[in-house]
């Protein structure tokens, strides 16, 4: 395997791990609020979080450029303030992968939280536990299998992200070229053995993740 392929693999893992962590950080609270609270704009949040599942990745990428590009709604003030832009950095790949993976995590975790018996939460409330601590000590531990499944799905989705990443992060070897982009480049430039090696590596990695998740799930159940 060429040094470029190895760097693509390392970058992909790095991006997928970071995106999964961000997903857990953002997605679990969103899933909790969608499952347990009634609030103004709830269906809008639900819609926004689910859209990346339905939209073509390039469309999501386009929106991300509009938002975060150098002349974007958030990107321009950031650039004017700091002279730095997130586009075409590996952070952009993380953001693209996070947004694309979010619906899978939120939907899975939300369903898991909704299946937790609310009387167990009410028992904690009547004994004096706040909503936050009840969520952390009762609800989320009981939903742990679903949370784990959601994180595995998010990791797999982040590992395979292509379209939105290409739009926001570009395809800069050694910097933003993740394995899917590297495979595309290799095929385009006729380096078929390089492409085959990366395909094999990604397939093997995905299998390992799935098997590990199944083992963990079996133990937790």
């Amino acid at each position: 395997m060429s040094p470029d392929s190895i760097s693509a693999l390392r970058l992909s893992l790095q991006v997928a791990v970071a995106a999964t962590a961000l997903n857990a950080l953002i997605g679990i609270p969103i899933a909790y609020f969608l499952a347990r609270r009634r609030f103004w704009g709830k269906s809008l949040v639900d819609l926004l979080v689910t859209l990346p599942l339905i939209l073509p990745p390039t469309v999501v990428g386009y929106y991300l450029i509009v938002l975060l590009g150098r002349r974007g709604l958030l990107g321009r003030p950031l650039y004017e303030l700091t002279g730095w832009t997130v586009a075409f950095t590996w952070y952009a790949a993380v953001i693209a992968a996070t947004v694309m993976a979010l619906p899978l995590l939120v939907r899975t975790v939300r369903a898991a939280i909704e299946s937790v018996d609310r009387d167990l939460e009410r028992a904690a409330y009547t004994l004096g536990r706040s909503e936050l601590r009840t969520a952390l000590e009762v609800t989320l531990p009981l939903a742990r299998n679903g949370i784990l499944a959601g994180m595995v799905l998010a990791f797999a989705r982040a590992l395979g992200e292509f379209g939105a990443t290409l739009m926001l992060a570009g395809n800069i070897p050694g910097k933003t070229t993740t394995v899917p982009l590297s495979i595309y480049t290799a095929v385009q430039t006729g380096e078929s053995s390089e492409a085959a090696a990366l395909v094999a590596a990604l397939t093997a990695l995905s299998c390992v993740v799935l098997i590990a998740a199944n083992r963990l799930g079996a133990r937790a159940a």
């Binding site: 904690a124 409330y125 009547t126 004994l127 004096g128």
Partner: protein, 272 residues
């Protein structure tokens, strides 16, 4: 400690279950909530405990609305005894009772020796010390109910709210629970319970609230509220109510229904 429920409307988002409920409760007093299935007893309790937000009106303790209270503060005032259910987790009886100390224990602390002593004391109060190490999932329904009462007492609450504490218990355990209610009231705790049995209200209540279609149809002394007329109105049955001498020398009223021709169609529709 004085609980005031003022002009309370309660229910679920988008669905009102009851309204215009006003009553108060003071230490040492037992108020019994009586009424048919679906009359709103459990929903009213959930609203008083703030598991549901009131749709209107307020719940106050010593003149102060509980609307903004933190959960741990609420739990130091209100002890809640839910209907005993099959346990899911095999905690021991002692562990369940120790959970009643939750609101008294610091954020990251574990129960202290004092907390354990209180749990033990509550087990002894309810004469279930012998169950201490038994798993909650393996004891009888009556024992579970007594365990949940012990847990609520471990909160050292001023107000005890009990949802049908005698339901699904055998006769002996029903009598034991009613006896405990009387003893706890004598210790100054304000007690509010629901029941399906008018005789239980006669046995333990100082006042009875008759909840029908989500409204307090009647509120007052048991002998004023539980009458042949009110029970016919609310349950659609004909009853005779008569005083009987109890084995302990006191007098109790009992309620004896007529079967057959005396029964009217159950639950005539809500007043429109």
């Amino acid at each position: 400690m004085r609980l005031e429920v003022a002009d309370l409307a309660f229910g679920y988002p988008g669905k009102e279950v009851g309204r215009d409920v006003t009553f108060d409760l003071t230490g040492g007093e037992v108020v019994c909530l009586l009424g048919p299935n679906g009359g709103g007893k459990t929903t009213l309790f959930k609203t008083i405990l703030r598991l549901l937000a009131p749709r209107h009106g307020r719940v106050a303790v010593d003149g102060q609305s509980i609307a903004g209270w933190a959960r741990d503060r609420l739990a130091r005032v209100f002890g809640y005894v839910p209907q005993a259910q099959l346990g899911i987790f095999p905690f021991t009886v002692t562990e369940i009772v120790l959970m009643g100390r939750t609101a008294h224990i610091g954020p990251f602390a574990t129960p202290s020796r004092a907390d354990r002593a209180i749990a033990e004391e509550m087990l002894a109060t309810l004469d279930i010390g012998h169950l201490a190490e038994r798993p909650y999932t393996e004891i009888s329904g009556g024992e579970r109910q007594l365990t949940l009462i012990a847990r609520a007492l471990a909160q050292q609450p001023a107000i005890l709210v009990m949802d049908e504490p005698t339901a699904s218990l055998d006769f002996g355990n029903q009598v034991r629970v009613l006896g405990q209610i009387e003893r706890l009231a004598d210790r100054g705790i304000a007690i509010m319970l629901s029941t399906h049995d008018p005789d239980h209200a006669f046995l333990c209540a100082h006042r009875v609230a008759l909840l029908h279609h989500g409204r307090l149809a009647r509120l007052g002394r048991p002998d004023e509220v539980i009458t042949a007329e009110s029970l016919r109105e609310v349950y659609g049955v004909q009853v005779a109510i008569t005083p009987v001498a109890r084995a302990d020398g006191r007098t109790a009223r009992v309620c004896v229904p007529a079967l057959g021709d005396g029964i009217l169609p159950a639950h005539p529709g809500p007043p429109s």
